[in-house]
Symmetry: C2
């Protein structure tokens, strides 16, 4: 390629063969894109043709009517449109590898919380100063005027009132999201409020277990085979008065994962990233780090590493914790820091990117501001740090409206190590990973990005995970078999359709 550059820079273009040079440039650029180094086999090529036909069709519709193009609009308003997309339907079937960036209590679609969990026994409701709270009790405590929710719901009027209140506090879904959440702060206010509502509900141990298993079920159905879950490791309760501490919860996670794997041998598993709140002071941070060390000793393979969570713009910086964090770096504890989830360049959130890299982070969560940092980009590439991109999260939390303006687009066109993840799908009515893959494929990547880009994303999600060598190899083997079935099925569907066409004409 150096040669091509020289040709272009030094030689008078008009004398060169314009069309040849033009094609060479376009092809060279496409060879830099994510996945461009992969070679498709015959079956994959057929599947790719099917995929690219529907992609082109949907791009054309969008091009003619951009305001209706789903990625240009807030996900909360276009979920059903996406579900009608043929590209989305193909992506649902695709073995997508791993989810590497998702949070514990936001893993499951809100519908399950509403329709299943809030209809369980022993759930009590209390409306205090217009604010609804839910909690499981054998016998309700005195903190509020608790009533059994089942009983309240027996009265149609009461049912309508509480159901509406519950629905409003369980999800960001609403009719006019850009007005409801006018900016990043307003979106985060709602987002945090949902957590504060669902945590007392979810931290009842039997529910926490069901919720986690349901999350795995949703991922599995969506053809995701491995999860690295960020968790605050909240204290669970049960009716015996037991308080389940971090190490108990990790044990619960591990055994549930085991149970799930037994039921689904082609599911690779789960690892945990302990990710307490970045609002912590130094004392709390020391406690978290101590906890992390203990957990790492107790569950050396199941604990993937450490992160800090919460609205980055308003929380404490990585620099604030840097000296504490550097010390555990030596103890074989990996970091997966959120960093640069902001569009305020030059602020402390933006500079978290520097600390994340200096602290030897294995991956960066979001990295939204990264493309405006030429030197950090160079480091990320040299150090092979993967960027966990969460398109829908960034849109719903109002970093960006039209996803075609998502800041990390250049990372896809230059083949950086990116993975696409879902962050908190349950909170905005998404489910598992396919919605985010759709947005990434249709808005963050070029019209030319094809099955190779998607294959690379799946591959990245396994190879940038914390699976060890043998685990990765096993995961890739299973994934490749699934991939082969996937492309074969699409190619077969296509040949059947073609046959049918030939017969009917």
């Amino acid at each position: 390629m150096v040669l091509l550059t020289c040709t272009i820079v030094n030689v008078a273009f008009p004398r060169a063969n314009y069309t040849i040079l033009r094609n060479e440039i376009l092809e060279y650029e496409q060879r830099l894109m994510i996945g461009a180094n992969l070679t498709l086999n015959d079956i994959e090529r057929v599947a790719n043709k099917v995929l690219m036909e529907v992609k082109k069709e949907e791009l054309n519709v969008g091009f003619k009517n951009p305001s209706r193009y789903p990625p240009a609009r807030n996900f909360l308003a276009v979920k059903e449109d996406i579900e009608r997309s043929k590209v989305f339907q193909l992506l649902r079937r695709m073995p997508k590898g791993a989810v590497l960036h998702a949070h514990d209590t936001a893993l499951v679609s809100g519908n399950y919380l509403y329709h299943n969990i809030t209809f369980r026994d022993d759930l009590y409701v209390c409306i205090n100063k217009g604010v609804i709270n839910l909690h499981f009790f054998r016998v309700p405590d005195k903190s509020c005027s608790w009533e059994l929710l089942k009983k309240v719901r027996k009265d149609p009027e009461g049912a309508e009132k509480v159901n509406k209140m519950i629905r409003q506090r369980i999800s960001m879904e609403c009719d006019d999201p850009t007005s409801a959440y006018v900016d990043v702060n307003k979106a985060w206010d709602k987002f945090v409020d949902i957590f504060s509502f669902i945590i007392p509900l979810l931290t009842y141990k039997p529910i926490y277990e069901d919720h986690f298993l349901r999350g795995l079920e949703e991922l599995y159905e969506d053809n995701v085979m491995y999860l690295e879950l960020r968790t605050t490791l909240p204290t669970l309760y049960d009716f015996d008065g037991t308080k389940y501490k971090p190490e108990d919860l990790v044990g619960i996670y591990q055994s549930l994962t085991q149970r799930f794997k037994e039921k689904h041998p082609d599911f690779i598993g789960v690892k945990l990233i302990y990710a307490p709140m970045r609002t912590a002071g130094r004392k709390e941070a020391e406690y978290y780090i101590k906890t992390m060390k203990r957990l790492k000793t107790l569950y050396p393979n199941f604990m993937a590493g450490f992160d800090l969570v919460g609205q980055e713009d308003l929380g404490r910086t990585l620099e604030y914790f840097a000296d504490l964090l550097r010390n555990i770096g030596e103890r074989n504890i990996n970091f997966f820091f959120h960093a640069g989830e902001t569009n305020w360049l030059g602020t402390s959130t933006d500079e978290n990117l520097v600390d994340a890299i200096l602290l030897n982070t294995k991956r960066i969560g979001h990295g939204y501001a990264l493309p405006s940092h030429p030197f950090l980009l160079e480091l990320v590439k040299k150090l092979d740090i993967a960027i966990e991109v969460n398109p829908i999260s960034n849109q719903v939390l109002r970093l960006v409206d039209d996803l075609r303006n998502h800041a990390v687009r250049p990372l896809f066109s230059e083949g950086y190590p990116v993975v696409v993840s879902n962050d908190d799908p349950g909170l905005w009515g998404a489910r598992a990973l396919s919605y985010d893959f759709y947005e990434a494929f249709m808005a963050l990547m070029s019209a030319h990005a094809d099955l190779r880009s998607l294959k690379q994303l799946a591959w990245n999600s396994l190879s940038y995970s914390t699976l060890n060598n043998s685990e990765t190899q096993k995961a890739l083997d299973i994934w490749e078999r699934k991939w082969h079935t996937f492309v074969k099925d699409i190619a077969y569907d296509n040949s059947q359709r073609n046959k049918q066409r030939t017969t009917t004409t």
Copy 2:
């Protein structure tokens, strides 16, 4: 810096001095930013302190309340907010160099068109099927039921009606711009409609002349000293029945520029970029190119070059014209192509970037899609092609909502040759260049970008112009004197304010 990279990549960070390394990275990144190589003198440093204090203040207000931050909102809704900004007020005073990307009939603020031009003698109005048209006549023709506008306006009811209709067709300004123009196509529909309304009004020769002089006046008052104007060279009319052809119009432009320079000896001048519509077919394009060659022979120094204009997504591609354009490249005619004014990556608009570069364009208009093209970026840097960034235009025409997501941000952080321009300020109620400088400074650049970035932008605008060596030197000399006065004034104001503070306390 290679050393620093090696340190970071090869050495275990925790052992290095964290704070020193962190600062080195931050400083190194800031040294890549636009203008970072400039060194400020003592007076400039004082002025910079004043500037950065107000910038920081306004960033802080925005950080606390992002939905009210002017660059995050459509310019049509926040013009007055910007005018209250202290940063904006400083930018108004700053000698900004040149405007290198602006269009002939959109140069002047709409208020002047309404309050001045539509109140002139001999202006006739006709409402045909609910659509209002204006035209100057000595004696109106039979094409419509023309009435003298002055007469219509004598009746209060008639006046209210036509005034409202005129205002609606003269500007994109409206109460709720994001609803009025839901996407790029809807915005362009309105944009094109304004041109179709004002062109019959403006192409009356005396008006065209006044309008152009007024445009220069607005730029001059805004401390812009040079203009490269894209013009379609429309046919002018007068009451003698004369039709003024392209060469006549270029002559008119030249003599008016001369007149303006005599009145304002510190105004450097104007050059023209002949920029007909990209909707042209091959025959028309051949005619345009022939015209361009003739104009270049007649006005070798005044004619800067050639471009094609109109909505790029819907117009013809550069590739369509490439063979025709390659031939004039050899005749010392420079190109200044619009290219990549889109957020559809991988489409023909996007690929116009390749053709612009292959056709040896001197600058690229917009280049919005450029940052997602790693190899084209390399070429642009090596070939030293300047990117003409028009923030407000891109926002009003709905490429991007929040300007903090403007795609070319990385070009500022990596010190690419960018110039900031205003495109069509008159059509959205802007005036001259300062509004675009405000948006660029507050949204496209980092919080750390300071007076040096602004100075570099001004310097770029002159050095990436088509002024020849001696003209550039003269322009830079005059600009430097103005710059010195500008920073001295700010430093002086500041010292006066400080004195006052000391006296009153």
